[in-house]
């Protein structure tokens, strides 16, 4: 249990996908403008990350390992893309409410590097199946935390007088780097928490 908690908290705070590993920057900058779309996107990411791990882990362990491990990236992209499409079709049929909430974000994150990254990292870290799932959920929650926090930062930036050169993306990237710097403060927290 302690091991799972360590992985979960570690994935949310210390190894935050956006702010420490710099994955999924595209949706992070693109969709963090409004709070509702930021949370919608993040929930979709949590969902897809968990599903993708649940599918890619057995494929890697039973089909690709040990002879075709180098096919990992290719096969994972293929499987995740198909999986998200499948999930979308099923959601549309059976849970239209959830489909309309996640709707536009689901296809967007199909080829997101954060989703691929979490499935690959689970294997690099040599987690077992349960640990992989926990790590994926943690990574997704970490994405949600980063998005919601950064949405607040962005709303503060928006109303300000910014020099012409820094208007738009430059100022936002600088802000993102400062938020990321702040997250560096979490390194070592997990070991301290569960010591």
């Amino acid at each position: 249990m302690k091991g799972f908690l360590m992985i979960l908290v570690g994935a949310v705070l210390v190894n935050n996908f956006v702010l420490s590993k710099f994955m999924g920057i595209c949706p992070f900058l693109g969709v963090s403008k409004k709070l509702d779309s930021a949370t919608g996107m993040s929930v979709a990411v949590i969902f897809v990350m968990t599903m993708a791990t649940a599918v890619t882990y057995p494929i890697y362990t039973y089909i690709l390992f040990p002879n075709f491990t180098y096919l990992r990236t290719l096969v994972f992209i293929l499987v995740i893309a198909a999986l998200v499409q499948l999930v979308e079709i099923i959601l549309k049929k059976f849970i239209p409410a959830l489909h309309s909430t996640l709707g536009i974000y689901l296809p967007l994150i199909t080829t997101n590097c954060a989703v691929l990254g979490v499935t690959v990292l689970n294997i690099e870290e040599q987690y077992n199946f349960a640990e992989s799932i926990v790590n994926s959920i943690g990574a997704g929650i970490g994405f949600l935390v980063a998005m919601v926090l950064f949405n607040g930062v962005r709303q503060r930036i928006e109303g300000n007088d910014i020099p012409k050169t820094f208007e738009g993306l430059p100022s936002i990237l600088i802000a993102a780097s400062i938020v990321s710097l702040a997250f560096m403060g979490f390194s070592g927290v997990v070991e301290g928490l569960f010591a």
């Binding site: 494929i59 089909i63 690709l64 002879n67 075709f68 096919l71 290719l74 096969v75 293929l78 499987v79 198909a82 999986l83 499409q85 499948l86 079709i89 099923i90 549309k92 049929k93 059976f94 239209p96 109303g159 300000n160 007088d161």
Partner: protein, 269 residues
């Protein structure tokens, strides 16, 4: 040779399996889309203002086919409601035309600036700085966040406060969402009297900061024959449902906080 063929076969098989799964799923889980949705969507004005209460015209088109009332499109008015009703085969019902009113008349002639505000020129930013630059903290900030939101050019800044042009306003409510002081309200266009003040401060204080503010004297309440005017929390309110447009309250008001405007063109008021 095997090092080339096996990976190809593995990826091919996985690809085929996913492909077949998707094909089967799209057949089995196919959702029928109603062609009436597209038709209703074409009739709607396409302003995506959200006055109907849905996320946009697409959202309302889907909702209308799903059973929502046909007369919710306020910018479209009776004409659009009739067309939507025809497509769906339902009675469209009556559409009450709406119009925006600004609950503030504190222009530069009656109030003063208490600071030289140098920050970003938006109402939102100005209001976050000591509740704005005017002596009255409930006053219109005058930087025109509402003007920027209006797609119909119906609202403008005159004498440093927002003024609605009733002939152009369609009552979509985009401006009301922008105002950080919540001064703008959407009321039925038939209502001609409205209170141009939002100050709930005590009368004596309101009189000190603004010559045109509501001081809560209750003269309107006493003079109103239909019981539409009420003073609640030091501020007069007029219920448009009860108001008979007699104009007595505006005549009685000592500060001119109650305004009586011309009827909107095209209404029977």
């Amino acid at each position: 040779m095997n090092t080339i063929i096996f990976p190809i076969v593995v990826v091919l098989i996985i690809g085929c399996i996913s492909g077949v799964c998707l094909a089967v799923a799209s057949k089995f889980f196919a959702v029928k889309t109603d062609e009436r949705v597209t038709k209703v969507r074409e009739v709607l004005p396409g302003a995506n203002c959200g006055a109907c209460g849905y996320s946009g015209c697409d959202g309302y088109a889907a909702a209308a086919v799903g059973g929502a009332a046909a007369n919710l499109c306020i910018p479209g008015g009776a004409e659009v409601a009739k067309k939507v009703g025809e497509i769906l085969g339902v009675d469209s019902g009556e559409v009450v035309p709406m119009v925006a009113v600004v609950h503030c008349s504190g222009n530069s002639n009656v109030t003063e600036y208490v600071m030289d505000y140098e920050g970003p020129k938006t109402c939102l930013a100005c209001n976050s700085f000591y509740q704005g630059r005017r002596s009255c903290s409930h006053a219109c900030l005058g930087y025109g966040d509402c003007v920027a939101a209006c797609q119909y050019g119906a609202i403008s800044i005159k004498d440093d406060i927002a003024v609605v042009d009733r002939t152009l306003c369609v009552g979509c409510g985009m401006c009301a969402k922008q105002c950080p002081n919540h001064l703008i309200e959407i009321i039925p266009a038939t209502a001609r009297a409205f209170v141009a003040c939002s100050s709930c401060d005590k009368g004596a204080y309101t009189r000190k900061v603004c010559k045109a503010g509501c001081i809560g004297c209750k003269k309107c309440e006493k003079s109103c024959p239909s019981g539409a005017a009420k003073v609640v929390n030091n501020l007069a309110t007029i219920d448009p449902k009860l108001c008979t447009n007699c104009g007595e309250c505006a005549k009685q008001c000592p500060t001119g906080a109650i305004q009586f405007c011309m009827p909107k063109i095209g209404t029977n008021a």
